[in-house]
Symmetry: C2
Subunit: 224 residues, 2 copies
Amino acid sequence: MSDIRLINIKEEILSDNLNIAEAVRSSLQRDKVFMLNLMASPGAGKTNLLLSTIQRLKSDYRIAVIEGDIDSMVDSEKIAAQGTKAVQLRTDGACHLDAPMIDAALQTLDLSELDLVFIENIGNLVCPAEFDTGAALKVMILSVPEGDDKVLKYPLMFSVCDVLLINKIDCLHYFDFDKELLKERVWRINPDIKIFEVSSKTSEGIENWCNWLKSEVEAYRKNS
Amino acid sequence: MSDIRLINIKEEILSDNLNIAEAVRSSLQRDKVFMLNLMASPGAGKTNLLLSTIQRLKSDYRIAVIEGDIDSMVDSEKIAAQGTKAVQLRTDGACHLDAPMIDAALQTLDLSELDLVFIENIGNLVCPAEFDTGAALKVMILSVPEGDDKVLKYPLMFSVCDVLLINKIDCLHYFDFDKELLKERVWRINPDIKIFEVSSKTSEGIENWCNWLKSEVEAYRKNS
């Protein structure tokens, strides 16, 4: 049965992955580089959120972005157009980024010249949740048009993340989306998650999120 | 290297899967049951689209729905509430449905009492594209808030599907979404794909899509 075989392999892969993620994390700590892993569905607004965030942080920090994409380079081109260093990982079909891929991407960068690395993971609420990349912070986006029931359907993603950004909050009036119900559902499985309401389009909430992120980066640098 | 191991296993799994998918397809043909595999991102509107479609087809056909979900049963409860037979497949972490799962679900149904089976796949634009379920028709939804660039980023899904439903077309005015550019990009990699613009919210285009689907079901039943 392919089922049983799959599970064994997956356990081995996850355990190999965790070892490499720990090594990545230690190496980033040595160089006081803060790495953030951003995850979401396709079209939730990862790239635009990164662009708005980088815009507000680039005077304070030296930033690079690792872009995961199955096939194209459209996102890294947008990041590079804004003047930020981008490393494109083409996964050729794989539906998530893992620690070996991130390790390979980091090898192409000079960590001593960086303060902050953003990972834009593959658009997928399932598998990326299972793979530790070595990042210090796991952030997910849920956009309003996706619906408030997604936490029931993709609970692992909501439970492993440190931060939930509710994006496209500007179109709340247009969709049948119960913000308070969503938060209640999220906090039930992850009481420590930090939630921000944001919109890359109108900039609502972006300042708030960036200020919080800055304080996290500062705390990390002090403790590294 | 986990990479190499992964690829070998995947090839084996895909080939085992294809054999079972062919057997499923033959068995459905024997009973003149038409099966449709519906795929999309989380929150693109799969369940609501199914509800609207079933509403219009249930006087003509005996229908069942196979619902894939990682953890919850919310979607099958909605389907059952509408009076349609639903089989819930809980994948317990797996990010796609495969032919053995569909085979198991079909075993619980009496095919001689059915005309039409809808599969609602896991919300994911990546892996479901790789796994043949034995369905006669592969349909994907892309919703307007997800953006017109998704075909560049998830090309396999757009190239394996027979039909693309552009959903939430009612909020086209609100998003920066170039419908014609999307179609051009899709047709470039899949010239035969049939495209419908729909909205489960306003019912726009649903009639059109359902009429086309009916004609496909009729043609299938004649040729089985």
